[in-house]
Symmetry: none
């Protein structure tokens, strides 16, 4: 549907992902992204008007991928509780497979509101809303307690996964694997909300 983005554009996004993850947005120099992408500094400004536009584009691109992937995965299940389980596993696997991106979302997304006035992260909201929708569906089917407030539950569940991700991204070695972590979190949460 989107026409294919130019190759240089993608090279810049890839280089920025690597550098931002490594050094953070502020400590990364435009010239470092250019070097990493194998192009001249000035070339970046043909594709992006300002440094912060690279970060925004990067968010949008990655989040779209993540969102599409998650929708596909959830679509494979019928049972809302199974969907929730799959959400957790898919999310954590994604983190494991995309550490750079995960680190940027963990770190830079959180401060982005400080320097990017009026940037609202729509994609991220949509991602969270996938959980909310599943919970509502579960409540309709009487699989999830009526007392559960979906907008709170989505944040609680996502927060649990997200904190787990932070640990994954920041620590070098881990005592347990992704599957175990996903299973544990699912177990707490599903027992906690199901009827």
């Amino acid at each position: 549907m989107n026409r294919k983005k130019s190759e240089k554009y993608n090279r810049i996004i890839a280089a920025a992902t690597k550098m931002f993850a490594e050094k953070g947005y502020y400590k990364t120099r435009i010239s470092e992204i250019a070097r990493e992408a194998g192009i001249a500094d000035g070339t970046i400004y043909i594709y992006f008007s300002h440094k912060d536009q690279i970060l925004i584009a990067l968010f949008e691109e990655k989040m779209q991928e993540v969102l599409d992937n998650m929708k596909r995965q959830i679509g494979l299940e019928d049972d809302p509780l199974a969907k929730i389980e799959r959400f957790a596993l898919t999310h954590l696997r994604l983190i494991e497979d995309n550490k750079d991106m995960a680190e940027i979302i963990q770190v830079e997304l959180r401060q982005s509101s400080k320097f990017m006035k009026n940037y609202h992260n729509l994609k991220f909201s949509q991602y969270l809303d996938l959980i909310e929708d599943i919970i509502r569906e579960g409540q309709k089917k009487n699989l999830i307690k009526k007392e559960v407030i979906p907008s709170i539950a989505k944040r609680a569940f996502f927060g649990a996964l997200d904190e787990m991700s932070r640990y994954w991204v920041l620590s070098k070695s881990h005592k347990y694997d992704i599957e175990t972590a996903a299973k544990q979190i699912n177990s707490y949460f599903i027992h906690g909300i199901k009827t």
Copy 2:
């Protein structure tokens, strides 16, 4: 209990807390902190060798308070499950009462590792470990399932609260109050882990 830090030192920390929360660490100018504290730029350097030392001191000071307060609150309960409930409520109330500090912890703490080499946030680990200890205690008393892995559970629980906090800090209006949020999260989590 702590010997009183110099009045200027405290004024700088207070001014930095306000400014960092408002504009973020990088966007905040030393001169803005000085103006907010009602002192000259140079005076800051009598108390802090570098800009980043203000942020570090701020973390340490605030986390110590938070940690002390939480220990006091938990100490009021005997039952591990009641301790967990109190943890959640205390944490969220703290966030509500200290939005500036909460925002800094949410935002700046996460990126701090990027620009502060070898700064390890010991206090934060200790805070998380309070949860782990409660869970182990609960398991000993047969109140919490043996299958629960404490180091995963602490992150899941804290993550849930933390994501809730983020929402609290960033949004202007909320559909429900802190007590409701705390009750919901406790309900999910405690049902999820208790025997």
Copy 3:
């Protein structure tokens, strides 16, 4: 013989020579050098990593010229005593023709060791050694007394010329000309050391 340095590089060296001579290294601002060179402040940092690198480059460039020129001049004479005479005249003429450079060498070279750790002025040593070599040659040919210690004589002779130069550089008007001064110094020194 040297490949041509970039034009901007040369403009910076020329501007720095003028400014350092006029105000001294410490009192000269980077922005003044830039203005004098007709470029932006930042441009200087494309060519030099630090302010002191300009001074070092300036020394090296000038001393190389001076050294090459002196070797050429000395080469024109066969007799060691004639070489010494030509050294004096060439040195003083050089000072007269390059007051700015002379002033920098007089003033800044002397303090350079204070702020430029491990900068050793090799070219300057080589320049002094030209005198030492001539004296040794003169001793071999029995034109100069064996008792003369070349390493002392070179300093005595150079020092005499150098003090003369200082007077030339610092005073506005002079009672006698360069040729007279050179002749006088040669006369004292050559009578003093010849057999």
Copy 4:
């Protein structure tokens, strides 16, 4: 004749002599001089209005001593040529005994004109003039050639000694001693100018 300077004043001069010799005027901090003198920063401003006044006072004090000492030494001889010999030996011995002061005179005196507008170093001129006077006296007594121009000769002779001093101050080890150096320089110069 001078009323005795206050003890603190002398302590400051002594501390400044040490620090300026070690690090140079510009690199020396007022606070370093104060620490070295064992007093508070502010106290320096009771005795000196500005940093550069310390350097000027230091010059004046030291040069007065040097001048008085040299006059006394020269007064011990009757023969102009013997006076010259004694000048050289006295000067070099002084350097050897007062390395800090020697270094300051070598280095800082030379750049002082850059930052001290209208500071004219009268004492230094008087010191040089001692040589000129001896030469004139020698010419009157027919001991020194009439062709010798005293104002050139004084600079040549002083320059030779001064360059020797620089070597003494800057080098750690020396191949020959002060007496040898003085004897050599005297030998060149006296043979060079005597009738």
